[in-house]
């Protein structure tokens, strides 16, 4: 059975059908990419699956459990994590603290134990600090371990979001344009990072504009156009699909 199953998903904003009747399935352990021209509904699709929006119609199943319309903080319990296309880093915290927040559900969040600094809380926090630093090294941010988030450049913040998502130890990770705004060298690094994450057993669902990256690392690709599913398949299949060529790469070819 697929880890994530989306069937007939539709989202209507006023008169606009941002996502229409989209169905697909993601097997555990793969890199699954969603591509499409601007405004194709990729981010809306992400927001529907991760609970930010409530679907107008359709089902979303994670491990067979219907999760359509479930609040984001509940979804985190089911092993779902994500990053954002427009950065959502907490600028009022340090880089390390941002990553530590990712581990929220794995910690004792009791207010009184925290205020009285119970030894158990202090010990767990010390360990977490190490874990978070390790994650920052993994995503290539060792230079920023002691930095405040608002002192970090854009490319580093994008990777900080990945580190935060990984701190939740998710089973499925949604990356919304992790390479957007990065230079080719940084894109290459994110490319390797995504592969590394997938190889560690985390299912990755990716929205990305960088075609080289998508074609390189994806096991399966879903192509959206005007909110509809245009094609689905491996990189080679999608590249040959005439509809995709027409809609996405341009009709000149």
């Amino acid at each position: 059975m697929a880890l994530l199953e989306v069937s007939n998903l539709t989202k209507i904003f006023g008169g606009v059908r941002a996502v229409q009747n989209v169905s697909f399935a993601v097997d555990a352990g793969i890199v699954y990419s969603v591509i499409g021209p601007n405004g194709a509904g990729k981010t809306t699709l992400f927001n529907l699956i991760t609970g930010i929006y409530v679907p107008s119609e359709g089902q979303i199943r994670l491990d067979g459990r219907d999760i359509a319309g479930v609040a984001p903080h509940e979804l985190a319990r089911f092993g779902m994590a994500r990053t954002f296309q427009n950065l959502q880093v907490c600028m009022n915290m340090t880089a390390l603290e941002n990553v530590m927040v990712g581990a929220h559900l794995r910690l004792d969040r009791n207010l009184f134990k925290g205020a009285l600094r119970f030894p158990s809380i202090a010990r767990r926090d010390a360990v977490l600090r190490e874990e978070a630093a390790e994650l920052m090294r993994l995503v290539g941010l060792e230079a920023f371990i002691d930095a405040h988030a608002d002192a970090m450049p854009y490319g580093a913040l994008k990777r900080l979001e990945i580190a935060r998502a990984l701190a939740a130890q998710p089973r499925v990770l949604f990356l919304d344009e992790p390479a957007a705004g990065l230079n080719p060298k940084e894109t290459g690094e994110v490319d390797i990072l995504v592969r590394k994450v997938a190889d560690s057993g985390v299912t990755v669902v990716l929205v990305e504009h960088d075609m080289k990256m998508v074609m390189n690392i994806s096991d399966q690709i879903l192509v959206l156009d005007y909110g509809r599913k245009l094609a689905e398949g491996t990189a080679a299949e999608v590249r040959r699909n005439p509809d995709v060529i027409a809609a996405y790469l341009g009709t000149h070819q």
Binding site: H73, C90, N92, V101, G102, G114, R164
Partner: protein, 309 residues
């Protein structure tokens, strides 16, 4: 590194220990006590406004609940001060919890308006229930007696209030660096990001609102006992504004800023007394000056200047 977090706390403890021996008379000791009480309330409010990013323009309402619970229950019903204080805190907490869900669906200006309304309602009730509260004239409050020990004189009060402030500072410093506190700051930084890592945002907003309301109420009870008299001004809109101003001037999301803000704004009207009728103008001018040149508040601005965060 975690040690340095408490450096400020140690400095404040030393200052508090030495201060009474340097003050020439009880007038200054009284001023110091009022500063410390304000610092406690402002600290609780800063957790809500500065750290969690949720404004409350009605916080004096909760101070009022504590002050009047103490006054009314001890005077009219013969409750022990401790029981009255806890009843007030419970009342403030329950009220905060009841209004939190609907109120925190709002953001920004709308949240400000809603909390403003809440504070005004409380202050109107206090003013109008004259049979119980003495109305605009206020009412006397008996001394704070715990079991057989009765707290009296500025010296005793000073030590007690100092102890409360130091404990609160310590607990606040712990809290903001605990998993709970990080979740709170994260929902301020990015609500959606905190949600997707599992933070139940509504629950956290409720918890910190209740905590800061309960704390305000407790300090309201303490104030009532210390002053020995309560008037509706304690629950007033202007008092709410004064508390928020202390948070902002001292520094949002700054534990020590809360103390500095409370100390400065409690002292300022006294210091400006020589301006003979122009003190309000001078007061306003100083606030404007602070906001223009130090929009982040005193402590964060100075900390940034001297290279520490």
């Amino acid at each position: 590194m975690p040690r340095s977090r408490f450096t400020g706390l140690i400095i404040i403890a030393v200052v508090l220990a030495v201060l009474p021996f340097l003050l020439p008379n009880n007038f200054y000791l009284d001023l110091a006590i009022r500063m410390l009480i304000n610092a406690c309330i402002v600290l609780g409010l800063n957790l809500l406004i500065g750290f969690a990013g949720q404004i409350s323009l009605g916080h004096a309402g909760f101070v009022g609940i504590g002050a009047y619970a103490t006054a009314v229950l001890t005077t009219h019903y013969g409750w022990s001060p401790l029981a009255a204080m806890l009843a007030g805190a419970l009342g403030a907490g329950v009220l905060a919890a009841l209004v939190a869900r609907p109120i925190f669906k709002l953001k920004g200006h709308y949240l400000a308006m809603a909390t403003l309304g809440l504070g005004i309602i409380i202050s109107i009730i206090v003013r109008n229930e004259a049979a119980l509260t003495g109305g605009p004239d206020g009412m006397p409050v008996p001394a704070l007696a715990l079991f057989s020990f009765e707290l009296s004189g500025e010296k005793q009060w000073y030590w007690v209030v100092s102890g409360i402030l130091l404990l609160s500072l310590w607990a606040s410093l712990n809290l903001i660096n605990s998993p709970f506190g990080r979740a709170l700051r994260a929902l301020h930084g990015s609500e959606v990001a905190s949600q997707v890592v599992g933070v139940d945002v509504a629950k956290y907003k409720l918890a910190i609102f209740v905590l800061s309301a309960v704390f305000a109420s407790l300090m309201g009870s303490v104030t009532a006992h210390y002053v020995g008299f309560v008037t509706p001004n304690v629950a007033d809109f202007f008092h709410s504004i004064e508390l928020v101003t202390m948070v902002v001037i001292g520094g949002m999301a700054s534990i020590y800023g809360s103390v500095i803000g409370a100390v400065l704004l409690t002292a300022l009207p006294q210091a400006l007394a020589g301006f003979e009728g122009w003190e309000t103008v001078a007061f306003g001018a100083i606030l404007m000056f602070c906001m223009i040149f130090m929009p982040k508040g005193l402590v964060p601005t100075l900390a940034a200047k001297f290279g520490r965060r």
